[in-house]
């Protein structure tokens, strides 16, 4: 330290030694000429380990720092000004430290540069915290950038100061387009009012969560859920607000849809004219509609809910109800079960109930939904119909029998011999009466089909015998028209376990139609064969045929094809309707193929055996005919 006076030297020596900064003095060659105590404290190198050595000879700088230090040493000596710079130091123990280096030229009395005074501040801690801060800033930056929620910052004037990319995306903007814009420019007037109130609350320091509807850049709406908090400065003054925003449009739309559909279904149920009752799996009522209350005579829903549905069913039907519940559970639904139901006041009424099972999302049954109808009126009409049928059968058949029998007696000469002409006229009366009897029988059959009281009674039926007998009865017409009847079946019994009456009705119908609607000298072919578990009867004629445009209607009630209406005025169009209806009673089928002026083929499929389900024994109150002559 030869460039200071000794007094000064002492003073500077003191400063030098006590300096909190590490100081290294370098000569012009770059060798260390002195260091202060702080250098040892900081780096652990003793003066003798450093003094007289070049920077490269002291292992206190890492490689890059050494190069940099050497370069800067040269620049500084050359008079270049270098702002403080950082070097990575290594202590004698190998610890890494960061120092900020400031180098100044040292001149002697002649202002000649003799070396450099290098001051090193330890900035290791500072660097560390800077690094930490950077790291944490990066972390937050990523958090903000990548967040699934939008983040929105506004200042105290509600001007947007920051939005993350997600926030911009939610509103359909780019981030930079939003910054600088007022919060209110992202909503409609109605929402502005709400936002104003919300901002007032923010200014009062209130944090909250609420839903909010924003306008997107394209003018569409976006439903969001917001988490907002005020931002205040150190003095507690409001300087803006932060919102974390989630787009709930989809959720809201689903909720709306759900609500809508719930409402729709509730409306349907509420406005249904049929009584709807929801019960648990034990039959306890949990809900109902207005119609149910009215049907069962309850004025308040509270009185209805909670009671057992068995209270609404007559005691005698309880067993059936229990069975039906089990069946409904098994089959998911059950239709049109008739019960005697009870009103609140105990009055009985005939009801019809359909039920289905309601499942939860795990597909477990949780409720029954029952629809009940009061069928008193229907029952009354049924009764009236059946009474009418009964009346018709009795009141019409009695005079018809009398006419038939007395004509028969006259024809037999029981009231004296008749002239040929008289006999002929009487025969006309007899035949007309017979037609009337047939018509009455047809009407009776229709009534029975309508009422579901048509009897199906199984017995052994020989198809060949049935057909032969019908043909025999029709032989007069066959002869008169010179028709040829071809039987394509062997003359031996073809036995079916079926209903005799139905066979008679169907075959009588088809054969008499074939004869009636085939012109003179035509041909009728009958074949019978087995096909699986069915007997297949085919009756074809070379007759008038059915016009194509009318073929779909021929099984309709009272339908007669135009071409035969012109040729034959006596039919009423019930035969095929009845034939089809009765054959369906035994699960048989009837179909046809026809071409006008060429002929018609009718196909009848009859089960070889009656299924138990189709047997309806004497449930009804009417018989068609006892004429099962053996």
């Amino acid at each position: 330290m030869g460039f200071f006076s000794s007094k000064e030297k002492d003073k500077y020596k003191l400063v030098f030694d006590l300096s909190p900064e590490a100081i290294v003095i370098l000569d012009l060659k770059g060798n260390v000429t002195d260091i202060n105590g702080r250098v040892f404290d900081w780096l652990g190198f003793k003066p003798e380990e450093m003094i007289g050595k070049s920077l490269a000879q002291i292992p206190f700088l890492n490689k890059e720092s050494l190069i940099r230090a050497q370069e800067n040493f040269k620049k500084r000596l050359a008079g270049q000004k270098i702002p403080p710079y950082e070097l990575d130091f290594v202590t004698k123990n190998g610890e890494k430290l960061v120092g900020r280096v400031t180098a100044s030229q040292i001149t002697n009395g002649n202002k000649k540069i003799t070396g450099l005074l290098v001051m090193i501040s330890d900035i290791t801690r500072q660097k560390e915290s800077e690094e930490n801060l950077k790291e944490s800033e990066e972390k937050y930056r990523q958090l903000v950038e990548l967040a699934q929620e939008g983040i929105w910052l506004i200042d105290e004037k509600s001007i947007t100061t920051f939005v993350n990319p997600r926030m911009a995306e939610i509103l359909g903007y780019k981030s930079e387009e939003m910054i600088g814009k007022h919060l209110f420019s992202f909503m409609d007037e109605k929402e502005v009012k709400i936002a104003e109130e919300k901002l007032e609350r923010r200014k009062k320091g209130i944090k909250e969560q609420h839903d909010f509807e924003f306008l997107k850049k394209d003018g569409s709406r976006v439903y969001t859920s917001l988490e907002t908090s005020p931002i205040v400065d150190r003095d507690g003054r409001y300087i803006g607000a932060l919102a974390v925003v989630a787009d709930i449009t989809q959720r809201r739309q689903m909720e709306l849809k759900l609500k809508e559909s719930e409402e729709k279904y509730r409306n349907i149920i509420d406005s249904s004219p049929d009584a709807i009752t929801i019960t648990d799996l034990n039959g306890k009522i949990v809900n109902c509609n207005q119609a149910a209350l009215e049907l069962y005579g309850f004025s308040k829903k509270e009185d209805y809910i909670g009671i057992s549905s068995f209270n609404l069913i007559s005691q005698k039907d309880h067993q059936q109800a229990t069975k039906s519940m089990a069946k409904t559970l098994k089959e998911r639904s059950l239709k049109n079960i008739e019960y005697t139901l009870l009103r609140k006041d105990g009055r009985e009424f005939p009801g019809e109930l359909s039920a289905s099972v309601i499942y939860n999302d795990k597909n477990e049954p949780i409720f029954f939904m029952a629809i009940t109808r009061d069928i008193s009126e229907r029952k009354r009409i049924d009764r009236a119909k059946s009474e009418f049928t009964s009346l018709a059968s009795h009141q019409l058949r009695t005079p018809l029998s009398i006419m038939s029998w007395y004509t028969e007696m006259l024809l037999k000469g029981r009231a004296g011999a008749l002239k040929k002409q008289q006999k002929k006229y009487l025969k006309e009366i007899y035949d007309a009466n017979d037609n009337l009897i047939k018509l009455v029988n047809m009407l009776l059959n229709i009534s029975r089909i309508d009422l579901g009281t048509f009897i199906v009674n199984p017995s052994k039926v020989d198809l060949i015998k049935v057909i032969n007998k019908i043909i025999k009865n029709l032989s007069f017409q066959v002869k008169e028209k010179k028709l040829k009847i071809e039987k394509k079946y062997p003359e031996k019994p073809f036995l079916l376990d079926t209903d005799q009456n139905i066979m008679n009705i169907v075959l009588q119908n088809l054969l008499s139609n074939a004869i009636r609607y085939t012109s003179d000298k035509g041909k009728i072919t009958i074949s019978i064969r087995k096909q699986g578990s069915f007997a297949l009867i085919e009756i074809s004629d070379t007759g008038y045929g059915i016009p194509e445009d009318q073929q779909s209607q021929i099984f309709s009630r009272f339908f007669r094809a135009e071409n035969i209406k012109r040729k034959d005025t006596s039919g009423i169009g019930l035969g095929l309707y009845i034939a089809k209806s009765v054959i369906e009673q035994i699960k048989g089928e009837i179909s046809f193929k026809s071409e006008e002026n060429k002929g018609t083929n009718f196909y009848v499929k009859i089960p070889l055996e009656l299924s138990k389900k189709s047997i309806k024994k004497y449930k009804s109150i009417y018989f068609y005919d006892s004429k099962t002559k053996k």
Binding site: T398, S401, I402, L444, K617
Partner: protein, 130 residues
């Protein structure tokens, strides 16, 4: 079973006069002794008194209907085996069916049968062909 020479007896319980007349005339002509009754009560009375070989019974009759008459007949020692045919136009009444099922009687619908056929049926009932 066959009663030689002697006419067989038939009881016809039928309230409709013209029908009773036609049937009576016809069965007379077929060499039956015919007993007519206008209701079930009268029918039963004649049946127990005359022990006819066969009985035709209408269903709807005043005082006592045909089904009741048949039931009472079948409760009687003599009456339980007498051939009976329910003759009706009312194919009504489950009871007919039950009766037919149980073999208590035959039945036939009037409009479906000519007088000639009824006579045949009755004769067949009296002389069953095996």
């Amino acid at each position: 079973m066959i009663q030689k020479q002697k006419n067989r007896k038939i009881l016809i319980a039928e309230d409709e006069e013209s029908m009773l007349h036609a049937l009576t005339d016809t069965f007379n002509n077929a060499e039956f002794d015919v007993f007519g009754a206008k209701n079930g009560e009268e029918g039963l009375e004649i049946a127990f008194k005359e022990h006819p070989d066969v009985i035709l019974i209408d269903i709807l009759m005043p005082k006592m209907d045909g089904m009741t008459m048949l039931k009472k007949l079948r409760e009687n020692e003599w009456g339980k085996n007498v051939p009976a045919i329910i003759l009706t136009n009312l194919s009504d009444v489950e009871k007919i069916a039950e009766a037919v099922e149980d073999g208590i009687c035959n039945y036939l619908v009037k409009t479906e049968w000519s007088l000639e056929e009824i006579v045949k049926k009755v004769k067949k009932l009296l002389h069953p062909v095996k």
